[in-house]
């Protein structure tokens, strides 16, 4: 039995309370995770500044090299996990077994995390716009163009309350280490695997363990991580995002409501873009905030919805070991059923038509003993004010919405990734100015195709550092 201890600034701590990590389908106990308590987090966080001090003993460039090494180790090495060891394949297998994520997606997410780590130098160079990284270490310095700049770390550590269902989000916190910011991780209850393996990979690559704390535990522990970190990220639903809106210390990552907008100049050629539409909806089991949940166009919307439904409708649940599996299980009791009920309620609207039903050959909801699945669903929505026009669920689900182009920007609401299929320069200019779109893609780019050299939901450099004035000589007379 794998026993996973709490990690307190690099030191394993065996708690008297443990939680089982179980197989999503059989209920078999796969590991026991030691549980931290809130007070313990608060006690440790009094020493958070040491994490940054220890990391600052290495240059950012050194740490970037260690990231590259850690990427290889994460991807290829047998690494410790609690009281045992784990090969890369065992990592994917157990992650799939406890989360219900198909094995091929576990492997895909593993590669994605390793890719980001491997290319950390380029990513930081892009995100800092070429800033010499010594300036981040020293706090100030002269740029090559002769301008004094100063960056002050907003926190010695980055706190994270991590999810259980999306191993891809771990890419977001990886840059902290080469930026000499310690990590305080509260792993998800069924996915401790990525944070612990990443921690071991960093350690094996020579990053001091003292820069990391990992606190598995109940909600109280997550709350304490958020409360005591000067900078933190949490992953959750809309309610979580709303709860932390306006709190500069906390970056809440929730549903993306990512969309594809087809311009009037391209909409008559929509069939040429069908592969982009399908991929954006389907990839990673539709679980990501960057999966497309809305396709907006002024005409041909029924035909577009039907064409997507024809491809997605027949898809059904297959074992996680199926190399072609595309659907992930819902392991939280009642979650899939609740979503299914909401959709059933939504399609009663005269403006909404379910396009997948005729291609699905069965119900949307598949109930199993300890988990459920939801099969892909494509809706056609003729009234853009209908609630189903802007909805997101964590499975391949998309609403194809009929909307005049001139109204789209104003009606799509908050959109994490907006892919605009258009060559209309005037409209592109409006899209560039649209503050409700975070990541803007123009062209045949699936919403899920992320270039890691671009910032995601805010630039992590701006989140972890603040620019401020620094002078060590008199300014020019004026």
């Amino acid at each position: 039995m794998i026993e996973i201890p709490v990690i307190r600034w690099g030191k394993p701590y065996e708690s008297l309370e443990k939680a089982d990590v179980v197989h999503f389908e059989t209920g078999e106990v796969m590991a026991r995770m030691h549980q931290a308590n809130g007070g313990l987090v608060q006690m440790d966080m009094r020493k958070a500044s040491k994490a940054r001090e220890i990391l600052k003993q290495f240059s950012c460039a050194d740490l970037i090299k260690k990231c590259e090494k850690a990427a290889d180790l994460f991807l290829n090495a047998t690494l410790p996990i609690g009281n045992g060891t784990q090969t890369p394949e065992q990592f994917c297998e157990i992650q799939s077994a406890t989360t219900g994520l198909p094995l091929n997606m576990a492997r895909g997410n593993m590669s994605k995390n390793a890719f980001v780590l491997k290319h950390m130098g380029e990513i930081l160079d892009a995100l800092t716009r070429g800033l010499p990284l010594e300036i981040l270490t020293r706090g100030y310095g002269m740029e090559s163009r002769g301008v004094m700049v100063s960056y002050q770390a907003s926190s010695p550590v980055l706190g994270l309350v991590l999810p259980s269902n999306s191993p891809g989000v771990h890419t977001l916190w990886l840059p902290a280490i080469p930026l000499q910011i310690g990590l305080v991780l509260k792993p998800g209850s069924s996915e401790p695997w990525t944070p612990y393996r990443m921690y071991e990979a960093f350690a094996a690559a020579g990053v001091p363990r003292e820069a990391f704390s990992l606190y598995p535990g109940p909600h109280d522990v997550g709350n304490k991580v958020l409360e005591t970190s000067q900078r933190a990220m949490i992953f959750g639903g809309t309610a979580t995002v709303e709860k932390y809106a306006g709190d500069p210390r906390v970056q809440a990552h929730g549903p993306g409501f990512s969309k594809i907008l087809i311009g009037d100049d391209m909409v008559d050629r929509w069939e040429e873009y069908l592969d982009v539409l399908v991929k954006s909806v389907l990839i990673n089991g539709g679980r990501s905030c960057v999966n497309c949940s809305g396709i907006w166009a002024s005409r041909h919307t029924e035909a577009i919805a039907d064409a997507i439904a024809k491809q997605l409708g027949p898809i059904t649940a297959t074992p996680t070991t199926d190399p072609n599996a595309v659907l992930a299980a819902f392991t939280m009791a009642g979650a899939a059923e609740a979503m299914n009920s909401q959709i059933e309620e939504g399609v009663k609207s005269p403006a909404v038509t379910e396009m997948t039903a005729k291609y699905r050959n069965g119900d949307r909801l598949i109930r199993k003993e300890r988990c459920d699945y939801l099969r892909p669903t494509v809706l056609h929505v003729s009234d853009l004010t209908d609630p189903m026009a802007n909805t997101e669920y964590m499975f391949p689900f998309v609403s194809v919405v009929e909307c005049p182009q001139k109204q789209m920007i104003g009606k799509i609401g908050t959109t994490l990734v907006g892919t605009a299929i258009t060559a209309d320069e005037a409209w592109i200019s409006e899209l560039v100015d649209a503050r409700n779109i975070d990541r803007l893609n123009v062209g045949r780019i699936p919403t899920c195709s992320l270039n890691w050299l671009q910032p995601h939901e805010g630039n992590i450099i701006d989140f972890l550092f603040r620019t401020r004035a620094f002078q060590n000589s008199l300014p020019p007379a004026h």
């Binding site: 008297l16 007070g39 608060q42 009094r46 109280d220």
Partner: protein, 364 residues
Amino acid sequence: MASLEDKCRDRKAELDQQTREIVQWHFGDDTGCEFWLEKKKTFDFDPLKDVNCFDDLKKFPLFEDDWLRGGPMRRWVPQPLQNKPIYVFETGGTTGVPKSRVVVEDHWIDYELFSETLPDESFPKGSNWLMLGPSGPRRLRLAIEHLAQHRGGICFCVDLDPRWVVKLLKKGKVEEAKAYSAHCIDQAMTILSANNDIKCMFTTPKLLEALALRLMDEGSSVEESGIKGIFCGGTEFTQQWFRFACEELLGPNVYITPTYGNTLMGLACGKPFDPADNYKITYYAPQPRAVVEVVDFEDHKKLVGYGETGRVKLYTMTKELFVPGFLERDEGEREKPHDKYPWDGVSSVRPYHVFAKTTTVGVY
């Protein structure tokens, strides 16, 4: 010296005797309270004749705490006590009409009995107390104050209103809740720094954490503040928290003992600390005034085996209150009798798993 077996047998006889006396009192025409005399009319048995031992209490229906909502309060007061000064204490609940219990002297008696279980070296007689926790409509403030006075000390009090904290948290006002907690700790810090000779304290796990960490941040500690003994309660007082408190918050020279109780039952004591228990917490009810059973989740009349898990069921048998079996919102494991408490105990008490998902615990 009597064996544990002998002690258990004697205590069982004492419990049966208490049961007979208390049932006669609460159902006697000249002594019983209005509530039970009315209820008696609905029973298909006669408590005065048919209840002769503790096990006969199973003839009663389960006590429903909703009966405690609303007045008139005097319907709960046995006739001979009607002219005594009456206290009313709320038993919990954050919305609607609160559940209340009337008390004459039970809170004093309960805490005097509890006092006998406290080690004098850690809770020195004559030293003063700090009561840092919820008071308001609860009996805790008066009970702790009485405990301090009973032991020859003075009790300094800092109030915390948990219902306000629940409201803040439900609205997502975390910063305000933190500020309120800090406001309580500020007051405790002031009292501790004011030459009040405070050596003993009652508080909750959350407040003890906050106080200990504040003292550390200011270069001091609970021990350096002069406190030698703490008692602390609630389902948040878990095995892991007990260890954390001993090892990291308090150090070896401050004694902490867990308690488990409520306004209905009184105060269950923790089994004396034994390193061999690895901080496992076992509670024993103040028999024969109250009894704790661990019963089958499906059949509350059936005890689970020793070491097995079940729902906590409480009984209260004092002259002021009769509770013939109430299912608590907690579960735990049934424990064997201990030499100091020769009757069944309950360990690892935690919120009943069916309710746990919807209950807000540990707000103060």
